[in-house]
């Protein structure tokens, strides 16, 4: 399967989309402009799907599809041609696409899969009473999490319980994905495969392999967050990594606002510019389901904005239309986000 065809899934026949914004979203670059594009294109869940995607590879694939007439370009934006739509439909049956992947819901899924494999290795070696082994290379923070987790377990039962939870998880996957993912298991006298070896065994390209790994770890997380009672061990392993969709800094800003601090005071306290704090608010407006838009958009501001924009499709609004209104970009973008969310 040609890897560049995956790109077809990121574009639409009607909407012009900016490839650079999509690429940044896939890589996990969290700027308001990228996040807004993700919202506008209905691609937000793909955040951080391919953090190591080389820019030149993305560009190369894009060029190939443009040359092949599957995509067309106007200025900095791209959309599917009729041929592109047909190719996408034809390819759909064969492609392995992320279904459970949810980049903001499970921001720390990579740390989780590191923890999962290290914890499994530690339990396997423990069960075999072997103390001399090379633990999987993970970050110091992940090592610490796994150690803490292990201390909480009943050592006489942990192996049996962990095996059972693994069985439930792998059993819930399509066989081919489960076989693939299990190649990365390691433990006493069991070495893990490299991604290259596992890809070869499954007959997948490196890109497909990477997408499957992401999909599987998010599939696991979906299972063990929605059915925590069936997965007490692994839910506990995930628990310290679970966080909301916001960046740490944005979450802090929001928490301080909720405590009643003003932006100016937060700015002084945290030594962060007010504009940066406003970007945190925009991030929250995009990512949170219950953002209090009314707090930051007064009725009069809302009226001015409505007067200017309500007869226009949301994606055609321009900030310079507000030139004489005295409103700032923050209010413009916030209103745009609200309207985009309302109109889907």
């Amino acid at each position: 399967m040609e890897d560049q065809l995956y790109l077809l899934y990121l574009f639409d026949q009607k909407q012009w989309r900016r490839p650079l914004a999509i690429q940044a979203l896939l890589k996990g670059k969290r700027t308001v402009s990228n996040l807004y594009a993700g919202l506008d294109y209905d691609l937000l869940p793909l955040y951080q799907l391919l953090p190591h995607l080389p820019a030149e590879k993305f560009q190369q694939a894009l060029n190939q599809l443009l040359t092949a007439g599957l995509l067309e370009q106007a200025a900095r934006a791209v959309r599917l041609t009729a041929t592109g739509v047909a190719a996408k439909a034809r390819w759909q049956t064969a492609a392995i696409l992320p279904v459970n992947y949810s980049g903001f819901e499970f921001q720390h899924s990579r740390e989780f899969s590191d923890s999962l494999f290290l914890a499994t290795q530690a339990v396997s070696e423990l069960q075999a009473h072997n103390r001399r082994y090379f633990p999987l290379e993970v970050s110091a923070a992940t090592q610490y999490h796994v150690k803490q987790w292990l201390y909480q377990q009943d050592i006489s039962l942990v192996a049996e319980r962990l095996q059972h939870e693994w069985e439930l998880l792998l059993g819930a996957l399509p066989q081919q994905q489960a076989d693939y993912y299990s190649q990365f298991l390691l433990g006493y006298q069991v070495q893990r495969a490299t991604t290259n070896q596992a890809d070869q065994l499954a007959g997948w390209s490196p890109l497909t392999g990477e997408l499957v790994r992401q999909e599987v770890s998010h599939h696991f997380l979906r299972l063990l967050t929605t059915q925590a009672a069936r997965f007490p061990l692994l839910a506990a392993l995930w628990q310290p990594l679970a966080s909301g969709p916001l960046s740490q800094s944005a979450a802090q800003t929001l928490a301080m606002l909720q405590q009643g601090w003003s932006l100016e005071v937060i700015s002084q306290r945290r030594r962060v510019k007010v504009n940066t704090l406003k970007e945190h608010l925009l991030e929250a407006a995009i990512l949170l389901a219950d953002f209090p838009f009314a707090t930051y958009l007064s009725t009069s501001v809302r009226q001015t904005l409505a007067l200017t924009f309500d007869q226009q499709p949301v994606d055609q609004w321009r900030f310079d239309q507000l030139a004489d209104s005295g409103l700032d970009f923050f209010e413009f973008r916030l209103y745009q986000i609200e309207r985009r969310k309302q109109h889907g």
Partner: protein, 484 residues
């Protein structure tokens, strides 16, 4: 004074050995007696033990300056494997939180590994100055020498580091140093030749047969490589100077020789590198196609062959790399295949990492333009500029360094072309006084290697057993089974 019996006890209890390898005991006794020591021990003699063991008999800390991230990671992993938890590697891969907490608990670590660049950072120096460092180790000490082939400017800061932390003893370790490099190491560390105990063992590894073979071109080389991999006793390592070639040849060997081959290079994710190392250590993989990123900390005793597909950049690297064969003392072989255009290929590689005259000029004209460039050449220029050097001096310096690198590469060529004994050539190069008795187990100066006579021949292709479980149920059962 530490008693010999105490040393023996630690050797057995901590490391599980009953005897030392040549040179180890002498070095350990010297550093425990507070003696500054310079040791040249051949590859594969367990140089790490020379500072690991004293660590358990000294009350203070052991600080190890190490040139490579991968080497540090391997050494940390080795110590963890031995059950030692008080190990810290201060590397650029530490996240801010971990780094902060490591520095806050600095005194609790027994073994601290860091690069010379890290050791020159002010906050780290401050920590080191306050710490009680009993032993300062400079691993791969040849890197400190300007004449050394892998010189890095931050090594020049080690003399002042040593003065600042005043360790009870300093230990410089290397497997390869010419006379000139040896003198330079002492000078750059501020050690005097008279007060420093110098323990120099022969660099020769007699159980490694030295073979070189000229081939017409890359096609012929690939063919010959396939034959060798079919004939030679395994396991083995094949070294390349290009990542891409290592991957290509892996595929070729998978088709023609064995499924149990994988590539290894610095461009891979660290967990993939870990997986390859582990599979190789456990005998799941029989051949590794690697760049020089592989092997520094590899402690696999039964490697039977090391093949060089590309020309190493100098004799030091060659000796280091072939030294990964035959650590169990059994007969092994080093095979260097070379085609006529290999020299030029390597010459380009070794010189294009140095900043050329045009870049130096550009940089000094507008250094701020390069402020965010993450290029090693620029880092090098930045360092020298901060140390008050000007463009003209640097142009001269790097022109000289380029000549030295080419000279070092020519020593490889001279080795290939020597009409005499190849082993003797190497020993002479390192001014090693050992006189070689050339025979059929030495090198292929006179006759090609007789693999059968060397007991390195694999008579029939041993069938590959695919031991990796392929479905998840089996794999899971294997991980959670207690029987082996």
């Amino acid at each position: 004074m530490v008693e010999a019996a105490q040393i023996k006890q630690v050797l057995q209890q901590r490391f599980g050995y009953t005897a030392f390898k040549p040179g180890q005991a002498e070095v350990i006794r010297a550093v425990l007696a507070g003696q500054d020591t310079f040791a040249i021990l051949p590859t594969g003699t367990g140089k790490s033990l020379c500072y690991q063991l004293p660590g358990y008999l000294l009350s203070g800390q052991v600080v190890v300056i190490s040139p490579l991230l991968s080497l540090m990671q391997d050494q940390v992993a080795q110590l963890h494997y031995l059950g030692e938890k008080r190990v810290l590697a201060l590397t650029s891969t530490l996240d801010a939180t971990t780094r902060r907490s490591s520095l806050a608990h600095f005194s609790q670590y027994k073994f601290i590994f860091l690069s010379p660049e890290m050791a020159n950072q002010a906050p780290i120096r401050q920590q080191l100055r306050q710490a009680q460092v009993d032993l300062l180790v400079v691993d791969e000490a040849h890197c400190i020498s300007q004449w050394g082939v892998d010189f890095r400017p931050d090594y020049l800061g080690l003399k002042s580091l040593r003065a600042a932390i005043t360790p009870k003893a300093t230990l410089a370790l290397t497997a390869t140093a010419t006379k000139r490099v040896q003198a330079d190491i002492l000078a750059k560390l501020g050690l005097s030749a008279t007060d420093t105990k110098q323990i120099v063992h022969s660099v020769d590894r007699r159980n490694i047969y030295l073979a070189t073979e000229a081939v017409a071109d890359d096609t012929a080389k690939d063919q010959r490589l396939i034959e060798l991999c079919q004939q030679l006793k395994q396991p083995g390592i094949i070294y390349f100077s290009s990542r891409q070639k290592a991957e290509e040849i892996t595929q070729l060997l998978q088709q023609k020789v064995t499924a149990r081959v994988a590539f290894y290079h610095g461009g891979m994710a660290s967990q993939d590198r870990f997986a390859v190392q582990q599979q190789f250590m456990h005998g799941k993989l029989m051949i590794i196609c690697a760049t020089n990123a592989f092997g520094m900390g590899i402690n696999k005793a039964d490697v039977r062959f090391v093949i060089h597909y590309h020309l190493p950049s100098n004799l030091e690297s060659y000796l280091q790399e072939i030294g990964r064969a035959g650590r169990d003392g059994q007969q092994s072989i080093a095979y260097l295949l070379y085609a006529p255009r290999d020299f030029q290929l390597q010459a380009n590689l070794v010189t294009n990492t140095l900043p050329d005259a045009a870049l130096i000029k550009q940089y000094f004209a507008q250094p701020q333009r390069f402020a965010n460039a993450a290029i090693p050449e620029i880092d090098l220029l930045k360092f020298y500029r901060q140390h008050g050097q000007d463009a003209a001096t640097l142009q001269h310096l790097f022109a000289k360094r380029r000549d030295e690198k080419l000279l070092a590469l020519r020593s490889m060529l001279a080795f290939l072309q020597t009409p005499g004994c190849k082993r003797q050539f190497i020993l002479n190069y390192f001014t090693d006084p050992t006189k070689v008795t050339h025979d059929a187990t030495c090198c292929n100066t006179t006759t090609p290697p007789d693999l059968a006579a060397l007991d390195l021949y694999r008579p029939t292709t041993i069938a590959d057993t695919e031991s990796q479980q392929q479905n998840w149920q089996e794999r899971l059962a294997a991980v959670f089974t207690t029987t082996t």
